[in-house]
Symmetry: C2
Subunit: 225 residues, 2 copies
DNA sequence: CTGAAGCTTCGACCCAGGTCGAAGCATAGG
DNA sequence: CCTATGCTTCGACCTGGGTCGAAGCTTCAG
């Protein structure tokens, strides 16, 4: 028997649940009520949806006092959603482009735990251009000088190497249709952007808001135009 | 506005359609009738399903005489399905392992246009071990000696490089849960296996049937135990 | 032309499952 | 205690959409 992919797909097939999952692509854990608002349904309805998502192992729940927090189960789930976004952006191109744009979302956003959007694509290609990364048509490796550079920035490769997760991984950007950097290093970069206060995140949205000085600092650190 | 991923997911969420899509993971183009049998529904029902899949840009149709052939629209679609399979195999582990096994499917099968299953995982790790491939925790590159080796085998890298598709790409094997080789090179390897008659494919199944001599030839060529 | 095979359209049936109101539990904080 | 907030369960409603029989349309083989 093959595993039943329709069961998994069915979980995503409901608009309310899909909205919840997309909201969780921000990487944050959200409460049931927040997710119900995100999905545009009542708390009761959200509750049944969330139960299904947890039962289907797409989400993890964590009880905290009288709140219940939910997050994506896995990086694999985030990858699945990104894959769906890519195809959806492809086939619904016209609607997306003619619809109300969210320029900020297009410019910089969070993709699960790393940076995405125009600026992430720029970063990626700058790293490749300066020979810190090798991009062999869709596949990515950190060069020695890249390891050097990020080592000076304070990345602890020993620690990263211990996790199962690849250090470099490309993720196809659904808005830009070009690669950006995911993986452990991608996460590190986003973490730094947030911890240094170069950008902040608004509520539960995936959009990232760079401050002027933060954007300058980021661009100069990574030698972006 | 975000692209609507629930629309795409809904297309896969119907068991009949999911079965059709999985059948097409064999990489072959199949007729409407073949797919209706694969899905276990009547021709009428299959027809409406196929229309939806084509409208949703998951499939491409090609009319040939009084037959209509269907195939996956894109490698992206195949990737999406493999992602779903991975998660499904994960969460339905018990059912899969206790259910009726298909040992041949597990040993060798086609994944869209490249080799998958136990033997593909073995191949991948042998190539890494012998330094023809570099596997940096999930990301893959062909080494110079690897390019050399496959060059001697007759791979035309000039030609492969012209396609948009990456030459090496890893694909997580849903039965083995380890990497195997996809991408242009993965396709080349499968093509050779079939053209040299080392293995044959049964009807529309994804399983691959190696002959004894074919298996020996394959293993010796790639130095597998 | 006739018949058969492949595919599609139409119509009617049927049901899984999404939705919300109302009520029920649990936790936090006086 | 009591009350407010967060979440869940129950029940009733309703609709989207999957299913097949029947009939129609096209292409191929004589």
């Amino acid at each position: 028997m093959q595993p039943d992919i329709s069961k998994i797909a069915r979980l995503v097939a409901e608009p309310a649940r899909a909205n919840m999952l997309l909201a969780l692509m921000s990487g944050k854990a959200l409460t049931a009520t927040e997710l119900s608002i995100e999905a545009g349904v009542t708390a009761q309805t959200a509750s049944t949806h969330l139960k299904k998502l947890v039962d289907g192992d797409l989400l993890i729940e964590r009880k905290q006092g009288r709140h219940k927090y939910f997050q994506l189960h896995d990086y694999e789930v985030a990858q699945l959603l990104e894959g769906l976004l890519t195809i959806a952006a492809d086939t619904q191109r016209t609607e997306v482009f003619t619809g109300p744009k969210e320029p900020r979302m297009r410019f910089a956003r969070v993709c699960y735990d790393h940076l995405a959007g125009e600026i992430a694509v720029d970063l990626y290609h700058s790293l490749v251009k300066n020979n810190f990364l090798i991009d062999a048509r869709g596949t990515t490796l950190l060069t020695d000088s890249g390891e050097n550079l990020f080592g000076m920035f304070g990345v602890d490769f020993q620690q990263l190497a211990q996790k199962k997760r690849p250090i470099c991984k490309t993720c196809l950007d659904w808005s830009e249709r070009r690669s950006h950097l995911a993986g452990g290093l991608g996460k590190w970069i986003l973490d730094e952007v947030l911890s240094k206060g170069w950008a902040r995140r608004e509520s539960s949205s995936r959009s990232l808001y760079f401050s002027n000085s933060g954007l300058v600092a980021f661009k100069s650190k990574y030698k972006l135009a």
